[in-house]
Structure formats: C-alpha cells, structure tokens
Amino acid sequence: MSIYDVIFYLFAILTIGSGYLVVTSKNIVHSAFYLLFTLFGVAGLYVLLAADFIAIVQLMVYVGGILILLLFGVMLTNKVTDVKIRTGTIHIIPAVIGTGLLMGVIVSMMLRTNWKSEPGELPFTTTYGLGRILLTDYVLVFELLAMLLLIALIGAASIARRDNE
C-alpha cells in the first residue's frame, strides 16, 4: 500500500464522512461547516488526480465564495437569536430506501463497466495546458460563461433588491 493510496483513503473518508454529516446534521450552521471539509476533501482528490489548478480553483471559488454565500443565506433567513436555526427533515425512510437503491445501482454500474483505462501522460503542472485550450478549443464556451456570470450577477442583484414595488 503506497503513500498515494493512504492519502487517497484519507481524503475519501474525509469527503464521504463530512458529506454524510452535511446531509444529516440537524443544525444548519453545522452543515455549512461540514460542507467546508467536504469541499476540502474533494480538492485533495483533485490534487491526487493531477489537477492542481482545478484544486486551487475549488478552494477559492467554493470555500471562499459559495460557502460564504450559503452562510449569508443561512444567517439572513433564520432567526439566529432564538433556537429556530434547527431545520427539519421529511420523508426519511422512503428517501433512505430510494437513495440507497440509487447508490447501489450506480456503484455496481461503475464497477461492472469495463472503462477505457490507459493512464495518460498529464503534464506536471496543468495551468499552461488549461490556459491554452481555454483560449483555443473552448474559447466560445469560455466567452459564453463570462456573459453568463455577468447576467447572473445582474439578475441576482435585481432579484434580491426588489423592495420598492
């Protein structure tokens, strides 16, 4: 068992364990903090998969942006001063059965399929290559996503501040 395997199992356990706590924790603020560890574990898996740039983007965008945004959402939509911050769950038993079946089907499908697996030669740092293909092969998608982000920004501001009707 090499050091790579040990690190993989550490990050996998971190990801799955805190992911489980995200969806089962009663306190919504605790869920948000467990989500931090899940995202961190996923970033570690990206590093193990030789995707260093994506891992840094994951840490900056998810942990620095989306998680803070979610925490703002929690704080602004709950009465923090009293104990109303707990949140309920519905349909536990059908959901456990349904998602358990779904997980079994997906995992067995993943394990039975004979995937085309030939470890390719990814470069040691991917930033150069990613920058090249983002501005050559995927330049249209890149520009469209820039437009989409601008539209989302304006839309979010206009939806959230509609107070003088």
């Binding site: 989500l35 899940t38 995707a51 983007v57 965008v61 979610l70 779904l102 995992v107 959230a160």
Partner: protein
C-alpha cells in the same frame, strides 16, 4: 488492498452523489437543498477529472470541471437571491410549505 485506480474515484463520486440526492430530497430548508446540489456537482466534477487522468483524454475533462465550477457559482448566487425573496414574502424558507407563486 488493491491499488487505487479509476474505480475508486468513481465509487467515491457515486457515494457523494447519492448523499447529495438524499440531502435534496429530505431537507426542508431551501439553503440545505442548495448544499445537497453542491455535493451533486462536486461528484460530477470528480468523475470528469478522474476520466481526464485515467482515460487519456488530455485536459478537456479538467476544462469541463472548471466550467461546472463557474456554473455552480452562478447558480448559488441566483438561488440565494431567490431564497432571500422567499424569506421576505413568506418569512420562512421551508420548501414543503411554499406552494404558492404569489402571496
């Protein structure tokens, strides 16, 4: 134990995906539903990047994962704005109680 390969990453992402679906289905609070969605998107991203390494497809998978992260950021901003509006209108954000399009 066998050596870590493509299947290990696929199993981790499948479990993460199922946990995300479980969160979306069971939680009442709209912000918690959003957190489940983030788990699902992360699971998809792990698949993209695992195949980018083990399938010998070059860097296309990693570029796609980057696009997914950008879409997740846009989705979170819009959804949070909608949740704030819901809270202003109904003064709670429980998705099982909000069944009207207007007051």
């Amino acid at each position: 134990m066998i050596e870590v390969g493509l299947n290990h990453y696929l199993v981790v992402s499948s479990i993460l995906f199922s946990l995300g679906v479980y969160g979306v289905v069971t939680r009442k609070n709209a912000v918690m539903v959003l957190m489940g969605l983030e788990l699902i998107l992360n699971a998809a991203n792990i698949n993209f990047i695992a195949f980018a390494k083990y399938g010998n497809f070059g860097l296309g998978g990693q570029a796609m994962a980057l696009f997914v992260i950008i879409l997740a950021a846009a989705e979170a901003a819009i959804a949070l704005a909608i949740v704030l509006n819901l809270y202003k209108t109904f003064s709670n954000v429980n998705v099982d109680e909000i069944d009207k399009l207007k007051e």
